[in-house]
Symmetry: C2
Subunit: 219 residues, 2 copies
DNA sequence: CCCCGCTGTCACCAATCGGTGAGTATCTGG
DNA sequence: CCAGATACTCACCGATTGGTGACAGCGGGG
């Protein structure tokens, strides 16, 4: 389909010593993991395979089998890595939210999640993967992502209780669904249901609509 | 990745005449198109290729090149077929909606779209494809689906005007995004953001939350 | 010092992929 | 009845895939 695979350019220096690889298992493992994450983020799950990862990592695929037990283990390692996502995404002013109403909080969280997803290609690719396949690999990744997201929401929510009379869990899930799909559609095709999602002005419109929906429920 | 391709079982009848295929180009073309749609709906876009379609259609892949000009043309034909989607999805009681408020209408449309998508595996796969890739193939399909959806919404809306003061287009796009992601996530993994999406009771909860969001904006 | 284990490389496998050229079978009009 | 168009099949191509077994080079502990 898409041909023209770029020739890897790790040819040894013509004259000097051939850039001997240091024998460092840890570094190699990290290189493989980084290659896998980068490949997934940049190319998507379509061309995500042993050969591609090894090519990008600049090592033999055999090492992936040895160190991670194959692609499955590698994907699992990516999932484990996703746990660190939370730490990077908790703004320092989280303490300042204690006095907000639940509506304020959810509006804020919605916009934060929107931006976070929009600026995280790896996470986007994983979400897209989740809704496209249902293999064991994807399930593991999905679980890790789900946990990270839940933890993040929990940390951000603090001790604020949702209002009575509404199924906040369901409403929030629907809001999150909207956010995820908007980001995916925007990144993939630049639009969603007729609404353009390219310029930052487009995204402001989307964010406004999102706010309106959240405010409509939580006041 | 996923191996164990099922052996096609179209071996000729052992004793009798070998189930001679009638030479009927029209029928073959239809068989190919049906095979493509069925394959896409059941297996997803991952293993969607010339060989797989030809295998399922029970003919040689050469015919796909001849009749459709390759996979691209075949995908385009699927897109053209999507235009018929609208006709099947307009309930006969559409006339009864003229007197509704915009909020009533959008709530209704949201639930209708939710059910329609939920019961249409092909459309689901296409939506998933749209957010996963950005090839020419997908763009064509996406455009066709977008048109069909817009046409459907237009037909359903009739002459009802949206309320002033809200960016109805943006709000509706967000609602549609939520619907699409809910359906995709439910079909793929049975849950979304912690909300289970398996039983019909689960879906009722989701629908209720959706209604609440729509009502919150449009009253 | 030498040997063994660890790290990394290479060659090869069967299977499948998209794509093509050439051939066979059937039907039809003269 | 024959010729040519049409419908269809088959065999093959190079490339790429996931996966494995054998081997080379270096380093540290006996």
């Amino acid at each position: 389909m898409l041909n023209e695979a770029v020739e890897t350019e790790i040819l040894p220096e013509a004259g000097a010593e051939p850039e001997r690889r240091v024998r460092d298992r840890g570094a190699t493992e990290r290189a493989i993991l980084a290659a896998a994450k980068g490949l997934l983020a940049e190319e998507g799950f379509q061309n995500f395979g042993i050969n591609a990862v090894a090519r990008r990592a600049g090592c033999d695929k055999q090492l992936i089998y040895r160190y991670y037990g194959g692609l499955d283990g590698l994907v699992e390692a990516i999932g484990a890595d996703l746990g660190t996502w939370v730490k990077d995404r908790i703004p320092e002013d989280a303490g300042g939210m204690f006095m907000l109403t639940y509506g304020d909080l959810m509006e804020r969280l919605a916009l934060l999640l929107l931006d976070a997803l929009r600026s995280d290609p790896l996470m986007r690719r994983i979400v897209a993967w989740e809704v496209s396949e249902n293999t064991e690999q994807v399930r593991r990744l999905s679980e890790a992502r789900s946990k990270a997201l839940a933890l993040w929401l929990d940390r951000m929510r603090g001790s604020l209780a949702p209002p009575k009379g509404v199924d906040a869990a369901a409403v929030n899930a629907v809001v999150i669904a909207a956010i995820q799909h908007l980001v995916l559609a925007g990144a993939a095709g630049g639009q969603c249901a007729g609404m353009s999602l390219k310029t930052s002005k487009d995204w402001e419109k989307a964010a406004t609509a999102l706010k309106r929906l959240v405010r409509g429920v939580y006041g």
